[in-house]
């Protein structure tokens, strides 16, 4: 356990030294731009302003959560591969530390950085909501953040495990594939072709649940529709007028499944990395 903590602290410190403050600053700027319509619009109709404010907070949190998961993919992909390429791993593994301990340490350290980043974003979101005078749905925010953390853990874990093969681009590509494929599973399962159905069912078992953001329910206001358009509103826009319903039990189940899949994928990566030769050119 001591070795894992040491490597985790080292990984966290490594990310912090790589201009993490600039990354956070960049994210704050994007958050600010995302909120700009609500911050600077004046003399608009009250229902339109309420919509803009709600959208600023929920949209900012949503964007921030995706940035955190993208960060998890990037940092995980470069974690072990950079250790191998730079040969720094040699002097670490020459000591009484198992390879899987190093991998877990990296995973924890990088995930911790992304979770801290998420926490920073949520704090900024709270500040923004106070400034704009809108109420945050605490329980929706909690389950949304939990799902984001599960996503961070999954993507950082998969990227870290695959990066032990030595290639950061391959690790990132495999992780992105895992992030995208869940959206393809329902159409495959519903396809009339038995082959596609079988592929869909197989992928449903192999691939971790997809990430679904619930941040749009954290602060919500109906989308105002001008009177002249009320008769011919498309269904997609009509949906925005209804408060999103969050199935908390389903979200908790999917969160647990995501973490479970992350553990299984990571375990496979640990086994592969422990068994292979470490060749350094």
């Amino acid at each position: 356990m001591k070795h894992i903590v040491l490597v985790a602290k080292n990984a966290f410190r490594g990310v912090m030294s790589q201009r993490a403050l600039y990354m956070w600053g960049f994210a704050v700027v994007i958050m600010f731009l995302r909120s700009a319509p609500a911050l600077f619009s004046q003399n608009r109709a009250p229902d339109f302003m309420a919509f803009l404010r709600a959208n600023a907070v929920s949209g900012s949190l949503d964007m921030w959560s995706y940035l955190c998961m993208a960060g998890a993919i990037y940092l995980g992909s470069t974690s072990m591969s950079s250790e191998l390429h730079s040969k720094r791993i040699i002097t670490v593994l020459a000591r009484p530390i198992q390879r899987w301990q190093m991998m877990i340490g990296k995973w924890i350290g990088l995930s911790a950085f992304c979770v801290v980043t998420l926490g920073l974003g949520i704090a900024l979101g709270f500040g923004l909501s106070r400034y704009l005078g809108v109420n945050v749905e605490g329980d929706v925010l909690a389950i949304s953040a939990t799902r984001t953390i599960a996503g961070i853990v999954l993507f950082a874990g998969v990227a870290t495990a695959v990066s032990t093969m030595g290639s950061a681009p391959i690790a990132a590509a495999v992780t992105m594939f895992l992030a995208i494929v869940p959206a393809l599973i329902p159409p495959l399962k519903d396809d009339p072709s038995p082959t596609y159905q079988r592929i869909g069912k197989a992928l449903d078992v192999i691939i971790a649940p997809g990430y679904a953001s619930n941040y749009n329910g954290v602060v919500w206001a109906p989308m105002p529709i001008p009177p002249q358009f009320r008769g011919r509103v498309p269904p997609q826009v009509r949906q925005l007028q209804q408060r999103p319903q969050v199935d908390f039990d389903a979200q908790r189940k999917q969160t647990a499944e995501t973490v479970g899949y992350a553990g299984v994928y990571f375990l496979l990566g640990c086994i592969a990395f422990t068994r292979r030769d470490l060749k350094f050119s």
């Binding site: 040491l6 720094r88 593994l93 009484p96």
Partner: protein
Amino acid sequence: MSEAVISVDGLVKNYRAGVRRSVVHAVRGISLTVPRGSVVAFVGPNGAGKTTTIHTVLGFIKPTAGQVRVFGQSPGPGVGGRIGYQPEIFYTYPFYTAHQALRYYGQLAGMSSSDLNKAIPPLLERMSLTDAGKRPISGYSKGMTQRLGLAQALVHDPELLILDEPTSGLDPEGRRLVLDIIGEEKARGRTVFLSSHILSDVERTCDEVVMVRQGQVVMADRIASFGAASQSWDIEVFGWTSTHAGLLEHGAATVVQQSDGSAILRCDAAAKQALLRAIVAANLDIGTVQAMRAATLEETYMKHAGVTA
């Protein structure tokens, strides 16, 4: 016979490389033993299999065939705390200071904070890194980084030091420091296994040498046996013709070289005086008279392991 700290028996390592996945024979049956308390050098040209063998000893690579034992156990984390390893080029985390890096490596080796507080300052001083110890490593010169690489290998006071080209990239002062440290570690009863291309360093510091070429051991001997005086003498004689062959009976001498009226005669030390008197009596001129010596390490290296061997 002292206990073997490293025991490599018939080590074979094959890789598959390239698009066609053709087999590369990196190591072809290397056997060697590093006794406790000795300094053993591992020399050979680039690509001879030295680093592959060292990485097998460290547990990074699994042998295709053969057996490797370190402290009587299989290589790997189980014995990692007893080994200090300095790679040929030391790469570390640039955001650390030397002090922090040594702390990290020491903690990974199982050292406590109090032990590290005692061990790090004198080690940094020994490596002439005290002043730079609080600066980020990213600003270090190559020589400073290499010295830090040696420090991280020593921080946990290992029983076995494995040094891969330890003087690589060092200035003469740094090189001398490394050689002195190897000598100090030997005096403390530690075992050192080092690979090097610099044969003068090997002659100065090591007890034994193992030469490898193309993945095989081509020669292994004690350093003391290289360049040592032997019992044979060479006498250069001018005016030599075939009619003087009878002189050879005076010392069971042999003609080892003959050209244009000169010859080099080789005889045992005991017969040298008699042969010299016979040469003078025969009115021949004597050129050089010199004791023979065994081949030097460099000569032996060029013969067995050099690229022209």
